[in-house]
């Protein structure tokens, strides 16, 4: 009998850790090609169409960036939790709660109390972060004080959040003039997130990229700064790498668990706000096609590095746009892009194992 076993590598060569994501993507595209071919289409044509749709034109790239915004915000949120070995699978629900809170402020508070639009936008941001944050802090507190597995609680709270929000969309906040569509009334134009317009000079002037992109980049920069320079970020890293040693060094572990889960949820919540105020301009069914779940793949693929998350989000945003493209132009299912996402994750996980272990036959 042949024994196959994994032998730990003493050190991982630098090129392996970089080659792993690249090779993963190539392999995912190869497997995807088989599936596309099984649909009776030419994989090369399909990939060419995907490329053209997502990156080939200024408009396509603009749409890619639009999709990348919620992905990077939620991805950063997931990553900060993962840094502390807190497996927050609840970004989707946290995103929905953020969207809900933002819509509430934008639709009702703004109408009830006169205030300048910038203040309303700021309040929407804060409300979304608070709502998403609290939704993340629930599994955090359960983990910190009762040692309840946060994977299960955060995952299950997704359903709770989504149905809670849909209850408002479908019934309580439903737009009576909405011709029966399940959505709220639109937000006042004044409190839409401003488009970046001519700031992104390389895009066609009518592009839809909004201020949310700046939120993402600022959040990434702040996360990098906090983790590498601040005492608090150092605590997060120590707790993530060795919780026991952190305890022995007197670090407040429970408090940081709740705090990090709050921040994680807050960033996902902000992603919800940016979709409401920047893209849909109302709360509606289908607001998120699972951004919060894709964010998990993105965070992992980016190896929890904040700046890499921005790049990977753009890649995955492009994948979503490309999926829509080939559905329209070639009649292929848009879910091809979801399949590709899944495949990339599979190969990345395999690549992670292989970069830490070598296979031995004997």
């Amino acid at each position: 009998m042949i024994h196959i076993r994994l032998e730990p590598r003493l050190s991982t060569p630098r090129w392996v850790s970089w080659a792993s994501p690249v090779v993963s993507i190539i392999l995912a595209l190869m497997v995807g090609a088989v599936l596309i071919a099984a649909q009776g289409a030419s994989p090369i044509e399909a990939y060419a169409a995907m490329y053209r749709g997502a990156l080939g034109s200024g408009f396509g790239f603009a749409e890619t960036l639009v999709k990348a915004i919620p992905l990077m915000l939620a991805g950063l949120g997931v990553a900060i939790a993962f840094r502390m070995q807190l497996w927050n699978i609840g970004a989707e629900g946290q995103l929905w709660m953020g969207a809900w809170a933002a819509a509430g402020v934008g639709l009702f508070l703004y109408a009830a109390i006169p205030m300048p639009p910038w203040l309303a936008i700021l309040l929407m941001m804060l409300a979304s972060m608070l709502a998403g944050g609290l939704w993340g802090a629930i599994p955090g507190a359960l983990k910190a004080y009762l040692n309840v597995n946060e994977i299960l609680t955060s995952l299950m709270l997704n359903s709770v959040a989504i149905f809670w929000v849909l209850y408002f969309v479908d019934i309580l906040w439903r737009d009576p003039g909405g011709l029966g569509f399940p959505n709220t009334a639109p937000l006042d134009k004044a409190i839409w997130l401003p488009k970046l317009g001519a700031l992104l000079f390389f895009l066609p002037p009518t592009h839809r990229v909004h201020l949310g992109l700046a939120f993402g980049i600022i959040a990434a920069a702040f996360m990098w700064y906090a983790l590498s320079k601040m005492q608090w970020g150092y605590e997060v890293r120590v707790i993530g790498l060795n919780k026991r040693a952190a305890g022995f060094a007197g670090m407040p572990i429970a408090r940081n668990i709740v705090l990090v889960m709050f921040l994680s949820g807050a960033l996902a919540g902000l992603a919800g706000m940016s979709e409401v105020a920047g893209v849909a301009h109302r709360l509606q069914r289908g607001l998120s096609p699972g951004y919060g779940f894709t964010a998990i793949i993105i965070a992992w693929l980016a190896k929890l590095n904040p700046f890499a998350i921005i790049l990977v989000s753009i890649l995955f945003g492009g994948l979503l746009v490309a999926g829509e493209q080939i559905q329209m132009t070639m009649g292929l299912p848009a879910s091809i892009s979801l399949i590709l996402q899944g495949l990339i994750l599979f190969f990345v996980l395999a690549g992670d194992v292989l970069s830490q272990y070598r296979i031995r036959f004997r």
């Binding site: 590598r9 003493l10 320079k229 601040m230 005492q231 608090w232 150092y234 605590e235 890293r237 120590v238 790498l241 060795n242 026991r244 040693a245 952190a246 305890g247 022995f248 060094a249 007197g250 670090m251 407040p252 004997r362």
Partner: protein, 518 residues
């Protein structure tokens, strides 16, 4: 018939049962065994002596089939052997008792002994197996109740189960990995009697150790390994401790530490009727009272698992105290958090360097500031001044003689001794009032052990109060001004460091209260 068998025994007396020739085992970047030649004869106790990392365990893992060597030949009873798995080596009559026992706590002695055997394929005849175990236990003087559950047994008894397990599988060659590390002096004596009895019955014992005294007292022959190579194989009666130590370390070793008499100072730590629970919620400390003064080392001796870990954790604010009080320099610290206790001037050299004392995936600097990142000069507002941190770590790394390629080296890559020096650098450079050191030299090589003990004595001279918790009785006796013995969460008695009587301490370690005079 009888006479032939006797004749055979005689002629087989010096027969070589284990022969390993020019065995080489490489790991990426390391040659763990470099052309090692090792022989063991029937009826001998052969000690395998060497520091950590000398290649003793690798060599035995090759012999038990866990590793396949790149080069070399193995012969058992003159027959060439190629072990592809531990199963093959068991079939060849080799048994191993690991340092950490491989027993199922919730099963009985007999169930553990027959665990994993193919023999009763369908119907398990437990009473017969029990009778077999009882017979073996009687034959070899390994007192044990075949029906007892493992969790009910003391560590020494569990070790006997491991030995019976090996014998039950027909082991003629028994490998014991640091078997005395977990035993009281009395239990060690009993084990040695058993081992002598076993070799008299024709077994071969390979005894892995780094303790010179016990090697001198039990072994017939000694093979010394250093850096993966055999230094020499010698007859125990033709050598002495100093010679063995020199072979083991590669240079002459001092056995005496300079511990000048010092007048103890103010009371630094006072513990009154301390109670605490273990992780299972059972009482682990039951009313412990003692004190430690400045300029003295108080040793806590005891067999592991008698509340030592809980005591260290309770003192450092890492474990809730259910009753009792702790004072540091007269100030009550019973309810303070770990952070507050650190800031109050308590240093902790924890039990496990890797899981408790350092962050393996962080570099030296990040490990040095582990307890200091919130205070100037490292802290500047909410940020860390990494330049200051690097400066401090560079200074401490050289002051405490930590050997590492650079400050960016991850702590994981340090050897045990260097990691311990790094931890000492962090803990002691803060000039603590009290140092709680738990097993500070466990698993360290002779050189690093010497260094750590020296540093603790320096701290004592500099005015610190040191609480030394160790299972190594020699260490406790060598370093301590006073010795307290802990058993099942209670202090069994106290002895003066110099005049301590090993036998009496041994009795206390086994749970007998003693009034020991000074």
């Amino acid at each position: 018939m009888v006479s032939t068998s006797t004749l055979q025994t005689v002629s087989r007396e010096n027969e070589i049962v284990v022969s390993m020739r020019e065995v080489t085992k490489r790991f990426p970047g390391v040659v763990a065994n470099d052309r090692v030649t090792f022989e063991a004869r029937r009826g001998e106790i052969h000690a395998l002596l060497g520091e950590n990392g000398a290649g003793k365990s690798t060599l035995m893992n090759v012999l038990t089939g866990l590793y396949t060597p790149e080069e070399g030949e193995i012969a058992i009873n003159g027959q060439p052997a190629q072990f592809r798995s531990p199963k093959d080596s068991i079939a060849a009559g080799i048994g191993m008792v690991h340092q950490h026992f491989k027993l199922v706590e919730t099963q009985t002695v007999t169930e553990n002994v027959i665990l994993g055997l193919d023999a009763p394929r369908f119907r398990l005849d437990m009473s017969r197996a029990e009778a077999d175990v009882a017979k073996l236990s009687e034959q070899y003087g390994l007192k044990i109740d075949p029906k007892a559950y493992i969790w009910q047994l003391s560590v020494g008894e569990q070790q006997r189960v491991e030995i019976i397990k090996a014998l039950y599988r027909g082991a003629q060659i028994l490998i014991l990995d640091e078997p005395t590390a977990v035993l009281t002096p009395q239990e060690t004596e009993e084990l040695f009697i058993t081992l002598r009895d076993m070799v008299a019955k024709g077994h071969t014992i390979i005894f892995i150790s780094h303790k010179l005294d016990e090697v001198m007292s039990i072994a017939d022959r000694v093979t010394v390994l250093r850096g993966g190579k055999v230094v020499a194989t010698v007859n125990a009666r033709d050598t002495n401790k100093a010679e063995l130590a020199e072979m083991m370390v590669g240079r002459p070793v001092l056995f005496r530490l300079d511990r000048p008499a010092l007048e103890p100072g103010e009371m630094v730590l006072r513990v009154e009727e301390l109670h605490a629970e273990n992780d299972k919620g059972l009482p682990a400390l039951r009313g412990i009272s003692f004190y430690v003064r400045a300029r003295e080392i108080v040793g806590i001796a005891g067999v592991s698992g008698n509340g030592q870990s809980e005591l260290a954790e309770a003192l450092n604010g890492l474990r809730p105290i259910t009753r009792g009080r702790i004072f540091l320099n007269g100030r009550e610290i019973t309810t303070l958090s770990a952070r507050e206790i650190i800031d109050a001037g308590v240093a902790h050299v924890p039990e496990d360097r890797h899981t408790d004392g350092s962050v393996g995936d962080m570099n030296l600097t990040e490990n040095i500031i582990l307890k200091r990142y919130r205070h100037p000069p490292i802290a500047r507002g909410p940020v860390i001044d990494w330049n200051q941190a690097r400066e401090m770590s560079s200074e401490l790394v050289s002051r405490f003689n930590v050997q590492a390629p650079g400050l960016d080296t991850r702590a994981r890559l340090l050897s045990g001794g260097n990691l311990q020096k790094l931890i000492l650098a962090r803990e002691l450079s803060a000039e603590p009032a009290l140092i709680v050191a738990m097993h500070p030299t466990q698993g360290l090589d002779v050189g690093a052990t010497e260094y750590v003990r020296q540093v603790l004595l320096e701290q004592r001279a500099a005015g610190a109060a040191v609480l030394l918790i160790s299972e190594d009785l020699d260490e406790v006796m060598q370093l301590s001004d006073r010795i307290l013995v802990i058993y099942e969460g209670e202090i069994m008695g106290e002895a003066s460091g110099e005049k301590a009587d090993r036998a009496q301490i041994g009795l206390m370690m086994a749970g007998q209260r003693q009034e020991v005079g000074y």
